[in-house]
Amino acid sequence: MNRTFRSFAVVTVALVVFGPLGLIIYQSFLSEAFFSPTARPSLGAYQYVLADSGFHSAFGTSLLVSFGMTVIAVPLGSLLAFLLVRTDLPWKKFLEPWLLVPIFLSPVVLAFGYVVAVGPVGFFSLWAKSLLGTIPWRLYSLYGLIVIAGLTHVPHSFLYVSSALRSLDPSVEEAARVAGAGPWRIAATVSLPLVLPSILFSSALIFLLGFELFGLPLVLGDPAGLLVLTTYLYKLTNLLGVPSYHLMAVVALSIVALTFPLVYAQRRMLRTAGRFAVIGGKGQAFRPLPLGAFRWPAVGIVLLWLLVTVLLPLIGVALRSVVSQWGEGINLAEVLTLDHFRELQNHPNLIRGIINTLLLGGIGGALSVGFYAIIGLAAHRWQSRWVSFLDYLVMLPRALPGLIVGLAFLWVFLFFKPIAPLRTTLFSLWIAYTVVWLAYGLRLISASLLQVKPELEEAARVIGAGQGKVYGDVTLPLIRFGLIGSWLLMFMMFVREYSTGVYLLGPGTEVIGSLIVSLWGTGALDLISALSVIEVVSVGLILFIALRLGVRLDA
């Protein structure tokens, strides 16, 4: 049973990952769309893309953006993690949930929020202009994009570093204190160096995410003619007049080729554990490091970050959703309206989108967690090369832009007849989402599984329970809170997801995320804002419930 179960898991994952990926690879070696009768094998796509100066500059910009945002996000995220986890920073309980908000916001919404807040005629810009006579920043610029991408990715590094810091034995810091080190020195010489693997992991992750940025460069970079790889990809849909799938496939693969060695390097890095072995504390209550006189400046740093990263765009979006017009020369008090929310009712597809999103997040999220749990259990305590194979396998879809994964799934559902009828149902979206979030979900599950002491399972084995019984009677009940937590997280991720659904969008498969991208095309920003407010509120509500239930978001 065990063997079959494990083989089943590996085969299933391989199928859902290699199906779409294989199609993309195949497409990249053709002269046009693979389903076109005149398509023939060709290296033309590679030749065109690799020689295109647009590709080169987009590549360079992507590299710069990735690098820049990593340089901003990682130190800041690590600092915030140290402050919130290890010190007596005031208002910690209140601040922590807010710190995670950017993760759960659709980047298109976030970016648009920035346009309303700090764009050339944003309310904050106009205020600054009235004070200083000029606006001291430029939103539509490379550095604007880098700064915003960096700031909004702080939570990613915060999550990983803070979870490592939490499992750090407090006595290593106390030892430094007793030896005479103050809080900042402890952070710099003991705490942060000890969680270096997590810092490196989050750096690699953020660097990777930099290549997949789509919403931010679409909104912030486009007007200035700033292209990154994903927006270049988007451009390819029109450059030749008709969608050039073969070119898009090549660009997507170039992103994989670039990011995958990174994943590999990062895995290698984590293997040299010893020196950084996570030191399990006794879990006893410890006294946080007192910041002393730095308490308030430290809160200041956190609040400033929150203001710029969360409050500004949220206020921007919320504001846009309740005014009929905005900008230079507008008195906002005179244009207040709830019409945009009312207007949502006139759009049956938007209403369906809201319902579908909640269904996909709620039921779909639960099903995904179930699927991840099955895969996770199969890999659980399995000493085999297949496990590291699985490890890399699940990272693959994450390395591809969501837009392309969605497109590949559209093709799979169109041309693989047995599942074709499912295409126009939420099921197609569910599969695509589940595959895209595979790595993230599995990480959540395996983190829970690792907390189950092997003896507990072995005890059941010795008494006479088979593997299945052990999972059902011991392992799963033990991680049930972890599963509930994962479900809530998947809910938020699914609600926020936007690029994967774009190509699968149709009646029956509308979700808020992809509707927003689609509406962005028509420029119905009032509706987008209203939809976003609904999205943010529902995600916020779940986040609130999750934190109330004590869900650890960092797993």
Partner: protein, 357 residues
């Protein structure tokens, strides 16, 4: 506020005057369509503005269940080609503003030949081989922000715009928006037409480059930013969109260039592999009918193509105001020249050089 209220009043009056006449009984396809019972439409016309048309159509043919897919032009093309190739069902009725993509699909044999009884009321250039039909008559305009730009400062023609950009590059620094022909098919189409009709087009492009104009993929995003004042002027905006948006944002205005005004038409065709061809015929006939075009003009604020529909938002109105300046983009295979790769890339290159991007 006052002008808004006045607008609402005018709108209400217009709504009351929808002309009756076209009835279900007169259409010979109705019976067959009733058997089909369903109609699948892929369209780039957003659901908000199409709503009155669909409602009226459903009122006429209550037995039809209409599935209206509001997609962007690229998605329409993507879906249609992939779905046709896979043999799984696709749209019955295709209605898109990407004129070139629609003609290309039709010219590759994807369109059903059907001579609509309304043919005689349409201009000749709007019908291609009884397969592809131009359904609207939409002038391409210059949109501007009324708050920030006094009416007399607004350029009234393409030539004016060129002069303005040359004379005051600093005043208009980053204040002008236009389509990005590289990313927007519609934008590309308009600009290649401009280049054909307007000898000074490349001066215009250079002027845009000198003022650091911003380029966009969608009209909506441009109008949002013109409304907010981030830009004061947007070049090559379809007038119907401005009209629709004026309902919400009173600060938007537009002018139709006096030297020439491009006219653009959303193209419709019936899919050759349509599962509900009769329902699709019914919809095409309705869309082209006087009744359909009247609803389109008066309620959806999209310019009607029929010369017998009265009012300002119609071909008749435009022709009266602009006379010979009206330059419709014709519905035929000439348009496909733009899809020819080397020429297309050559144009893009020239554009990028002019804009110094």
């Amino acid at each position: 506020m006052n002008s808004l209220r006045l607008g609402t009043l005018v709108f209400c009056v217009l709504m009351a005057s929808v002309s009756p006449g076209y009835t279900a009984e007169t259409n010979p396809n109705a019976a067959a369509a009733q058997k089909e019972g369903k109609l699948i439409i892929y369209s780039s016309t957003d659901s908000a503005s199409v709503e009155p048309i669909l409602q009226d159509f459903k009122a006429l043919y209550p037995f039809l269940q209409v599935e209206y897919n509001d997609l962007n032009t690229t998605e329409i093309y993507n879906r249609f080609t992939a779905e046709s190739a896979s043999g799984s069902g696709t749209a019955d009725f295709m209605w898109s503003s990407a004129m070139d993509l629609q003609i290309q699909l039709a010219s590759k044999g994807n369109a059903l030949t059907y001579a609509s009884p309304e043919n005689s009321s349409l201009p000749k250039w709007a019908i291609w081989q009884n397969q592809a039909y131009g359904t609207t008559f939409e002038p391409v305009s210059i949109a501007y922000n009324k708050r920030l730009l006094p009416a007399d400062a607004v350029p009234q023609s393409h030539a004016d715009l060129v002069k303005l950009l040359k004379a005051k590059p600093d005043v208009y620094k980053e204040k002008i928006a236009t389509f990005d022909p590289e990313k927007s098919g519609v934008g590309f189409l308009m600009m290649t037409q401009d280049a054909k009709v307007f000898p000074q087009f490349w001066d215009l492009a250079k002027g845009l480059g000198a003022t650091g104009a911003k380029v966009y993929t969608s009209t909506g995003a441009m109008l949002e930013k013109v409304g907010s004042g981030e830009h004061t002027l947007a070049y090559n905006i379809i007038g119907s969109y401005v009209l629709l948006r004026q309902k919400k944002d009173a600060s938007l205005g537009y002018v139709l260039p006096k030297d020439y005004t491009l006219v653009f038409s959303r193209i419709a065709f019936i899919s050759k592999s349509a599962r509900n061809p009769n329902a699709a015929k019914l919809f095409l006939d309705y869309l082209l009918s006087k009744r359909g075009q009247t609803v389109m003009s008066e309620k959806s604020l999209v310019y009607s193509i029929r010369s017998d529909v009265p009012g300002p938002i119609t071909a008749a109105g435009l022709n009266k105001d602009l006379g010979k300046a009206v330059k419709p983009i014709e519905v035929n295979t000439d348009i496909l020249a733009g899809l020819e790769q080397t020429k297309r890339l050559e144009f893009m290159k020239q554009w990028k050089e002019a804009l110094k991007r």
